[in-house]
Structures are given as C-alpha cells and as structure tokens.
Amino acid sequence: MFKILEPNKIFQITSKAPKYILFLFVIVLTIGLTEALILSPEDYKQSDAVRIMYVHVPSAWISLGIFSSITLLSISGFIFKNKNFFLIAKSLAPSGFVFNIIALVTGAIWGKPTWGTWWAWDARITSMLILALFFAMYLIAWRIYEKEEKVFKITSFITVIGIINVPIIKYSVDWWNTLHQPASINILTKSSIHSSMLFPLLLMTAAFALFSLLIFLMKYNTELIKIKNKGLDRL
C-alpha cells in the first residue's frame, strides 16, 4: 500500500508535522517534569531517589518499543520487498538507541543511592546492555553498507537476532534472581505503584514518545529528500 504513495505526498505531511509535535512535546514535558519533580510525593522507602524512575522507566519502555517496531518493519520490508518500511525503521532507530543509553545511565545513577552499586551483572541490566549493542550494530550497518539490497538484508538480520533479547529483558526479573526489582505495572493485575506516582510516569512516557516521534519525522524527512534528490518519484 505504501508503494502507491509518492514521496512528495508523504513529504507534504511529514515536513509540516514536526512543529506541531514539538509544540505538543514541550507542553507535555513541562507538565510531566513538574508532576514528576515537584508535585508527586516522595517514596516511603527511597524518598526523593524515586524521581529518577520518571526518566528511567519511560526511556526503557520507549527503547524496547522502538526495537520491536524496527524488527517488525524490517521483517515486513523483507517479506513484502518494501523499501519504505526499511526507511521508517532506519529513521526510528537513533531515538531508540539514545533512550536505551539514557535508561542504562539513569539506572546506574539510581542504583548507587538505592542498591549501593552503579552496575551489577544481573540478567535485566546485562540484557539491556545487549540491546544497546544491537542498536549500535543496526545503526553502524546502515553507515557501512552502501548497496541497498545488502543493507536491507543485514539490518533485517540484526533485528531478527536482537528481537530474541526483548522478551528476555521483559521477563528476566521473573525468570531469575536479579538485583533489579520486578515490574511494577501489570496489565492484568493491579499495579504496585501508587496512582499519584503512576500519573507522572505516564505523562513522561507520553513526552518521550513525542520526542521519539519528532526525531523520527526529522530523520524520515531527510530520507525522503535524499530520494527526491536522486530524481526518483516513487519509493
């Protein structure tokens, strides 16, 4: 279905969208940060250290979501031989990588005052590091290989191998003893996070998602301009 769309038509929408997204992002981030840093209560046990959660958890969620998306897009692109899917995946990856790094760094900053260590080789943290390596491999592959056919195949392969890691990250805290605490938010059962803290968490997630969308649109526009400059009117 994407084959019918001309890059010019997509570009008309995607080139205008960023300013609205940016506007929305600034608003949501402002409310989110105010809620997270000032209005939300401190934790009964961790006191103010809990506020790192409002950056740490959304970053981890977004990076996992983006990796799953680029895998799905790459596989679909490979099966249906659709170039556009690969370009969307390529444009999504950088923000996923950045949020992955943010999750690791804020995790370390949170770990020092609460656990007493910056880093632990437990299953959750190590698997998250592996995800960052897969993101790095994916991004580097796009830079190394010039030929389209080749880069599509290699990046798909990286995502297919990397996606195995995603459920391992999710369930590592349930399958094995880890230093990292289990998930607080469950869809099926009651969340073990108080509503006054859940609200800023969701706001920050929305803000980060908007930021990813913004970066994605900018990257994607660049790709479309590249295609236009090559004189191709179809994807």
Binding site: Y44, Q46, V50, T114, G116, A123, H194, M197
Partner: protein, 139 residues
C-alpha cells in the same frame, strides 16, 4: 493472495526466528546457574559442596537480627525457609533495613555462616507515598 516468493520469505523468517528462540532457550537453560544474580539460603543449604569462590546470597533481612558493633555488622538473611548468618564490615547502603531485600557478596565460611565483602540493598516493585504506607500498616 500473496505471491509464492512472499510466502517463501515469510517461511524463511519464521524458521530463523524459531531456530534462534530454541537455541537461546537451550543456552540460557544450561547457563541458569550463571544467569542468576544471587542464591537463596535454601540453595546454599542444599549445595553438595561448599563453594570456595566469591558468591552472592540474597533474601530478606530477618526482623530484629541486625546487630551493629563498632566495626562489624551482623545480620541474618532469610528466605522464610532457611537462614544464613552474615557478617560484614563497612558501610551499608541507605536502603538496608530489617525485613527488606538484601544481596550479600562474599565467601561462605560454612553452610550457616557467610562473610560478606559487599552489601547491596534490593528494593521491591512497590512505590507509594509515606502516608499511604502508614495507612496500610494501620489496617
């Protein structure tokens, strides 16, 4: 509705994924001992022979078991089935407290005694304001 090539490519990706999942599953199953970050006191009790290497023991700090001397902290780690005595000299993390999670890194003296070189606090997945915690405790 889709071409033969499309179906073949779909099958190809599915096969790669299934193979990878099975391989990773087998690898992780066989590495289970190394994937876990710590062992519970029960697992220590059932060890066939004492591990001379550095290991980690985790569980809850038993109620009223913390004993702080001038240069040593003694406490008991329990998983509510078995317990192990831990001695440690040094600073403990802020979240280290009775009836809270803890991971001790160090060496086993025997099945009941553990000499820690490092103490990590393990916190749980519950987040709530202090007032809510108090209200819960009053119930």
């Amino acid at each position: 509705m889709y071409g033969r090539k499309v179906k073949l490519r779909f099958l190809y990706v599915t096969l790669i994924l299934v193979t990878l999942i099975l391989t990773v599953y087998l690898v992780l199953k066989s590495l289970e001992e190394n994937v876990v970050y710590f062992q519970s006191p029960t697992e220590i009790k059932t060890l066939s022979e004492l591990d001379k290497n550095k290991i980690r023991v985790g569980g809850m700090v038993k109620k009223n078991s913390i004993n702080i001397n001038s240069d040593e902290v003694n406490f008991i780690i329990t998983d509510f089935k078995n317990e192990i005595n831990v001695s440690y000299s040094g600073a403990v993390p802020n979240l280290f407290a009775e009836e809270k999670g803890v991971v001790a890194e160090g060496f086993l003296k025997d099945r009941n005694f553990f000499s820690a070189t490092k103490i990590l606090a393990k916190h749980d997945e519950n987040y709530m304001p202090p007032e809510v915690k108090e209200a819960l405790e009053e119930k």
